[in-house]
């Protein structure tokens, strides 16, 4: 019988397997790198018509988030300020009114055509996220938007993937904080408990009732203890069924 296959073909199956393996790894890596929300969204930092500086206004000047995003506690949608909100301070002849950077604001007011801001955070059409619901139950801005108070130009800090939503809905104790501290972007549970004896007592009582062994001086532990206590006392039960966000 003739030898149909030459000797070198013995290695062909192995070569094919290696190639396919490499290809598969390549596809997975490429997909993760290019096509997941983490890769596609995080770091998105578009140019805005007016280079508004959050760091300056929030950290240095002490403006509250709600000064501009005024309906965020009332509506599902966090509104972007109207031109007349800006013009409360930056009125003609007022603060920095001769700055070139503010020219689009005055153009808008004069022409009557609103400023077109570029959207940074965007949930898909079929996701019905509600800002007021989250703020009302002790979830802070930074959980999704990152340290906006330190951003000179706003960028997409977290991936806002569905996995991120579900992770937090499963373990809300990692994010829950007192309602008074929701807009405090420098909040830390450990510091809060040091300053508020009554809250510390509540947490301690809760821990002993539930046999929790957590160190309140530790940053992570303090948040967890505080979060678990609030979750229990406020009856926080984040839903995981689809209609929570999709309808």
């Amino acid at each position: 019988m003739a030898n149909y296959f030459p000797r070198w073909t013995n290695l062909v199956p192995l070569k094919i397997a290696v190639c396919i393996g490499a290809l598969a790894i390549g596809v997975v890596t490429a997909f993760t790198y290019y096509a997941t929300p983490k890769a596609q969204r995080v770091g998105y930092m578009p140019d805005q018509p007016i280079p508004y500086d959050h760091e300056l206004h929030v950290t240095q000047l002490g403006l509250d988030c709600r000064h501009c995003h005024s309906f965020v506690e009332k509506s599902g949608h966090a509104n972007v300020p109207t031109a007349n909100t800006c013009a409360n301070c930056h009125v003609k002849g007022g603060i920095k009114s001769d700055s070139e950077r503010l020219a689009p604001l005055f153009d808008a007011i004069e022409s009557g055509k609103p400023i077109k801001w570029v959207r940074v955070h965007k949930a898909p059409d079929y996701v019905f996220f509600n800002h007021s619901a989250h703020l009302g139950r002790g979830i802070s801005c930074i959980e999704c938007h990152g340290q906006v108070d330190e951003m000179r130009v706003v960028y997409h800090a977290k991936n806002l993937s569905m996995g991120m939503c579900i992770e937090c809905h499963r373990n809300p104790e990692d994010a829950l904080r007192p309602l008074e501290e929701v807009f405090n972007l420098k909040y830390s549970a450990a510091d809060y408990l040091k300053k508020n004896q009554s809250a510390a007592d509540q947490v301690t009582a809760y821990m002993s009732a539930n046999n929790l062994d957590l160190e309140l001086d530790d940053k992570g532990d303090a948040q967890k203890a505080m979060g678990l206590m609030l979750k229990d006392h406020w009856n926080v039960q984040p839903k995981e069924s689809c209609f929570t966000c999709h309808r």
């Binding site: 079929y126 139950r137 009856n235 689809c242």
Partner: protein, 1180 residues
């Protein structure tokens, strides 16, 4: 593998009892119907017929796969996220919070009084109309009112000034308006609505132009009743009924529950419930509460469907019937020819019952004045006026508007006629005056100015057409309800298409130099605003300081009405001495009476371009997109048409066969061809001749009609294009192509009955009718779509004891009440024990089971109950659902294929009692209308997704796109659905709808547009999309959808409850860490959550609420099932009201929507009273 077929329960032949059916095909139980109902989405082309077919399909599939793979490679090049913008307002807008609706009170002017409304606005665009519940005259929102919001955004609305149908510039138009009205000899024709500001402006115009004259006209508003009321109580007096005081009502062809408003019906419905208005009383003690409705009418109306006793009678005989009643009442002489014995007995028993107290007779508004005069006397004799059942009222001020008779008399002196009526007089073209001159004859030599929001026949015929603003873009006022309460009309949005408001035009006519307000300058204040405000300050709330005036005005705008300013009681003058001329009774089917009916979809034709209304099935016939000639089965048999309709249809092709949209058009694969009601529904044509006018139209067999009577709804056939002939098989019809007067919605819809009407208002006798042999017409009816027939679905009981017989002992009312849950299969079939384990299988990160059971929410468990005692089947809920949930319209062809998207299906059953001894064939569908003691009933049954606790659809979804929520909803994640349609196949309620095409994206109303794929015309982003509810996904092709209890409203209610807890925390001043929140604090307040269908329902038939909230009204009809009990023990459910039952309880789906059996309250003195309300009681 063959499909396992469910065999529908058989009703043994010869069994005594009541037969229930939806259509002629079902009544005759044709094999074709059985095949039609076996499929969820019947469609011939989906059936693969043989091996060749299969092979072709496989190849096509592979070809497509190859092509799409190749395309995918090209498509990958750009997957970067497109830049999107956020554009905030320049200046903050008062009350507007982005993302939250703002509600404004307004009202819709109508011939029967202003309809008080609240409009929801998102960022300045109105999206949904709700009743203004603060106004005492508010009572639901009818389908036409609801759909008027689509009219606002209609891209085909008039937007240009026209001169003889050709567009002219604004400047020219204003000049022409001034020119035509300069002499002052003009007549203005208004609608029949009443407006205080308009009255004021009319006085101003009169002061300026002595020759100006004013009239009111609407085609079907009921000239007879108006004339009679005016004769007795003075001009502009309106007689309305107070149904709270009406214990016994006889409706003589008066559809007072829907199209022929005679007063607020809320009290009527409150008295239809044996438990009373709030379900607070014991249903066993029904006597003090339940009213009784008699109905005598030629054709079924929704009011007739509610009747306890209903008798079919030709319209020409209504006068004779009134004479008979008048003779009983002693206010007239008996008719010369007598009725048959059964009828006389019926009338006598009915009159005695009315006489016993609280009785009132209501006559259809469109009957002649003389008949109304006699009915007035009968009502006097019954004491209806002295008891306050009927009251006449009129406004303090009213313009002296003439009738069309006055118009005919004055016509000689008028140079210009200004039409400001909502009607379409050139199309309707009524005969006016004593001769045979029609409206167009009268205006032939005059300048005709038309103000309207449609470019209809009148607009195109006018010398000058002025585009009108919609009422949601206008300032105005009106009077609502029985009491005639002053209500305001306020605009929600600036005119989208530059329309002119009614009051703006009138203000222009008071000026020296006529000029129209230009709304394109958003800062200019409309003169209509000043006019309404001025009249309000001068007449409605006169006096006060400037601050008080502003306060009053703001209060009016906020509440929408001023209850202090209303109509005054009018006192009766001398009773008129009218006599009723007796008319010949029609006895020959070829020379019947014809009824020119008002249509449930298009009213008098004004809504012909409204796609929601066109697609909403007629409540009685379930016909969409068309009108037809209706006749009783006997009349159809006599004319030789019944066999054509009911017996097997000869066509083996589906009726979309020659549209070229599908290659496989054979109907089913079995040797039995389709019956007349399925996809090959071709109606036979008849030629109707009235006088010298004739019309060819399609025929539908309608049950419960009087024999030798045909009925033709008006308002259709306003324009045809070249595709009209594709609706016919056989010879092509003869017709003119004219699309100028209709939009793409109203084109090719039905037949124009106005051509036949001539001078008669409501009916004509002695017409001739004959079958057209060689032509048939395609119809789209939904009555057999999604059918669940053959089961005890819409249950009925009656206050009369049942007749005892061999099968059953006599059951009195109490026992009937107790056994509501034992009708049909539930009487003997044990309930399925479902395999759906209540314990969820969610696990946390460490693999521990999370302690969350199925339905674990302790704050909210939603449920609905639907009371069949008050549901009329009017379908307002269906249209409200469409408005709320962004449900697309699919068009006539798709409806015929069973692809309508309405989430609510309004089933309508007919039921007829059948005696012993009648053999099947003898009694089938004959129901001669002579048999007044053998009533034929109509029972509506709205079915949407019932939110099963153990839902069969969920277990079969391969991608978990339909899942249960913790608060009891069966939800759809639309973005997850891949369109396998398994869920729809497994749904026993057939409540799921599938998007076969991108109905939202591509305009389904254009010819074959859906089948052109990417080349089809798109409608994304046209004006209609502004109506969309931003809180609901717009579903795309290939996605299953269904009712989710308005989940967007539930979510926002839950969030509101959480935010109110937060506000409580903030108010208390204590640190939030010290707060404890329990389940009850997170509950929404009792009865605060309403769903769209519930808000729209004027009958209050739909209750919705939270089963965990003890204060919620739903508790009175339904309670939570006890989860801890072992299953078979709570098979019956823990319902608190004995009338409550579940649809298909025996299959064990445990639905959250339950129904309440209809209670009929027949008069024991009537013949055949024991047979009333027996639709399901003998079903096994």
């Amino acid at each position: 593998m063959s499909k396992r077929k469910w065999h529908h329960p058989e009703v043994p032949a010869e069994e005594r009892g009541t037969k229930v059916w939806r259509s002629a095909g079902e009544l005759e139980d044709t094999p074709g119907l059985r095949q039609w109902v076996d499929r969820e989405f019947p469609r011939a082309a989906e059936v693969m017929r043989d091996e060749d077919d299969r092979e072709n399909t496989r190849r096509d599939f592979l070809k497509l796969m190859g092509a799409s793979t190749a395309l995918a490679g090209l498509g990958l090049a750009s997957c970067r996220r497109p830049e999107s913008l956020i554009v905030p307002f320049l200046d903050s807008v008062e009350w507007t919070i982005p993302g939250k609706p703002t509600y404004y009170a307004t009202s819709m002017p109508s011939a029967t009084g202003a309809i008080p409304l609240v409009a929801a606005n998102y960022e300045g665009r109105p999206t949904k109309l709700e009743p203004n519940k603060q106004n005492p005259s508010a009572n639901g929102v009818s389908s036409m009112t609801q759909a008027s919001i689509l009219g606002l955004y209609d891209p085909a609305r008039s937007r240009y000034f026209l001169e003889n149908g050709k567009s002219i510039g604004r400047g020219d138009a204003v000049k022409k308006l001034g020119e035509y009205t300069k002499s002052g000899n003009f007549g203005i024709v208004f609608g029949e609505d009443d407006s205080l500001t308009r009255t004021d402006l009319i006085a101003k115009i009169k002061a300026k132009h002595a020759g100006a004259k004013f009239y009111a006209y609407e085609a079907l508003a009921g000239a007879g009743k108006k004339a009679s009321d005016a004769g007795i109580f003075g001009k502009h007096a309106v007689v309305k009924a107070d149904f709270a005081k009406a214990g016994k009502i006889l409706s003589l062809d008066c559809d007072f529950l829907e199209l022929d408003n005679q007063g607020n019906t809320k009290a009527f419905f409150d008295r239809r419930r044996p438990e009373g208005a709030g379900y607070n009383e014991d249903p066993v003690a029904y006597e003090k509460q339940l009213n009784r409705l008699y109905c005598v009418e030629p054709t079924y109306s929704v009011t007739g469907g509610m009747a306890d006793h209903r008798a079919p009678l030709a319209p020409s005989q209504i006068g004779k019937f009134i004479s008979l009643l008048a003779s009983y009442a002693g206010v007239g002489t008996a008719p010369a020819t007598s009725f048959s014995d059964t009828k006389t007995k019926w009338a006598k028993a009915c009159y005695e019952d009315l006489k016993a107290g609280g009785g009132v007779v209501l006559l259809g508004s469109r009957y002649a004045k003389e008949l109304h005069d006699v009915v007035y006397k009968i009502n006097e004799a019954l004491g209806a006026y002295s008891a306050g059942v009927l009251t006449a009222r009129k406004g303090k001020q009213h313009a002296d508007l003439g009738t069309m008779e006055d118009f005919a008399n004055d016509a000689g002196s008028l140079e210009t006629v200004i039409l400001m009526t909502a009607a379409n007089p050139v199309y309707e073209n009524p005969i006016l005056g004593s001769g045979d001159q029609t409206f167009t004859d009268f205006v032939a030599d005059k300048k005709l100015i038309h103000w309207g929001d449609q470019t209809n026949a009148t607009a195109n015929a006018a010398s000058l057409h002025i585009p009108a603003a919609h009422y949601l873009e206008s300032w105005g006022d009106g009077f609502s309800g029985n009491e005639g309460v002053y209500t305001v009309v306020q605009p929600m949005i600036l005119p989208l298409y530059g329309g002119i408001q009614e009051l703006e035009l009138l203000v222009a006519l008071t000026q020296d130099k006529v000029d129209l307000h230009d709304s394109s300058d958003a800062n200019a204040v409309s003169p209509a605003y000043d006019a309404v405000k001025g009249v309000f300050e001068a007449q409605v709330k006169p006096g006060g300081s400037a601050a008080a005036k502003l306060d009053n005005w703001n209060t009016l705008l906020r509440t929408g009405f001023n209850a202090e300013f209303k109509y005054e009681a009018a006192s009766a003058g001398a009773a008129p001495s009218s006599t009723i001329k007796e008319e010949v009774e029609p006895t020959d089917a070829s020379k019947p009476d014809i009824v020119f009916a008002t249509d449930y979809s298009v009213l008098d034709g004004r809504y012909v371009n409204n796609a929601w209304l066109q697609e909403a099935p007629d409540p009685i016939s379930k016909l969409t997109w068309d009108n037809a000639v209706y006749m009783s089965p006997k009349t159809a048999k006599d004319l030789g048409l019944y066999e054509d309709i009911v017996e097997l249809e000869k066509e083996e092709k589906a009726w979309w066969a020659n549209l070229g949209i599908a290659t496989d058009v054979g109907v089913k694969t079995t040797p039995v061809s389709e019956d007349g009601e399925g996809p090959s529904l071709f109606g036979p044509m008849v030629n109707v001749k009235v006088g010298d006018q004739s019309l060819e139209a399609v025929v539908i067999v309608a049950f419960g009609m009087a024999d030798n009577v045909v009925s033709l709804p008006l308002g259709y056939g306003q324009g045809y294009d070249k595709h009209w002939k594709e609706n016919f098989i056989g010879n092509d019809p003869d017709y003119d192509i004219n699309t100028a007067n209709v939009s793409s919605v109203g084109v090719n819809a039905g037949f124009n009955g106005y051509a036949l009407r001539g001078g008669s208002d409501y009916y004509a006798g002695g017409i001739s009718i004959e079958k057209v042999a060689d032509r048939r017409y395609k119809l789209a009816r939904t009555q057999e779509h999604h059918s669940m027939y053959g089961r005890a679905l819409a249950r009925e009981i009656s206050t009369m004891p049942t007749e005892p017989d061999g099968h059953d002992h006599q059951k009195d009312y109490k026992e009937q009440l107790a056994t509501v849950r034992k009708h049909g299969m539930d009487s003997h079939a044990p309930q399925n024990v479902d395999q759906y384990k209540p314990v969820g299988n969610a696990k946390d990160k460490d693999g521990n089971k999370i302690d969350r059971e199925h339905l674990w929410d302790k704050s909210h468990q939603w449920a609905m109950s639907i009371d069949l005692s008050t549901c009329t089947g009017c379908s307002a809920c269906l249209v409200a659902c469409q408005a709320e949930n962004n449900i697309p319209v699919v068009g006539k062809v798709q409806v015929a294929m069973g692809r309508e998207m309405h989430w609510i299906r309004m089933d309508r059953y007919f039921a007829e009692y059948q005696d012993h001894g009648h053999s099947e064939g003898e009694h089938k569908a004959t129901n001669p209308s002579e048999d007044w003691d053998k009533p034929l009933e109509m029972i509506p049954n709205p079915v949407a997704c019932v939110q099963c606790e153990s839902a069969p659809c969920e277990t079969v979804c391969p991608v978990n796109a339909t899942v249960h929520t913790e608060d009891g909803l069966n939800t759809m994640a639309y973005n997850r659905c891949i369109g396998t349609r398994y869920c729809a196949n497994n749904c026993p309620y057939k409540a799921r709808r599938f998007n076969f095409f991108d109905y939202n994206k591509r305009n389904p109303l254009l010819h074959k547009n859906l089948y052109k794929g990417p080349f089809g015309e798109k409608q994304e982003g046209d004006a209609k999309s502004l109506q969309r509810n931003p809180n609901v996904s717009v579903r795309m092709r290939g996605v299953m959808e269904k009712c989710t209890y308005c989940v967007q409203r539930l979510q926002s209610a839950k969030i509101d409850a959480k935010l109110s807890v937060k506000r409580g925390v903030q108010k208390s001043g204590k640190p939030s860490t010290e707060f404890k929140v329990d389940h009850e604090m997170l509950m929404s307040p009792a009865n605060s959550v309403t769903v769209a269908c519930q808000d729209a329902c004027s009958a209050g038939a739909i209750m919705f609420g939270n089963l965990l909230n003890k204060k919620d009204d739903i508790q009175k009809t339904k309670a939570l099932r006890d989860e801890d009990q072992d299953l078979p023990a709570h098979v019956q459910g823990e319902f608190k009201n004995p009338r409550t039952y579940d649809l298909l309880n025996y299959i064990g789906t445990r639905p959250r929507t339950s129904y309440m059996a209809r209670v009929k309250n027949p008069n024991p003195a009537m013949e055949g009273a024991t047979n009333v309300g027996r639709a399901t009681i003998n079903m096994h």
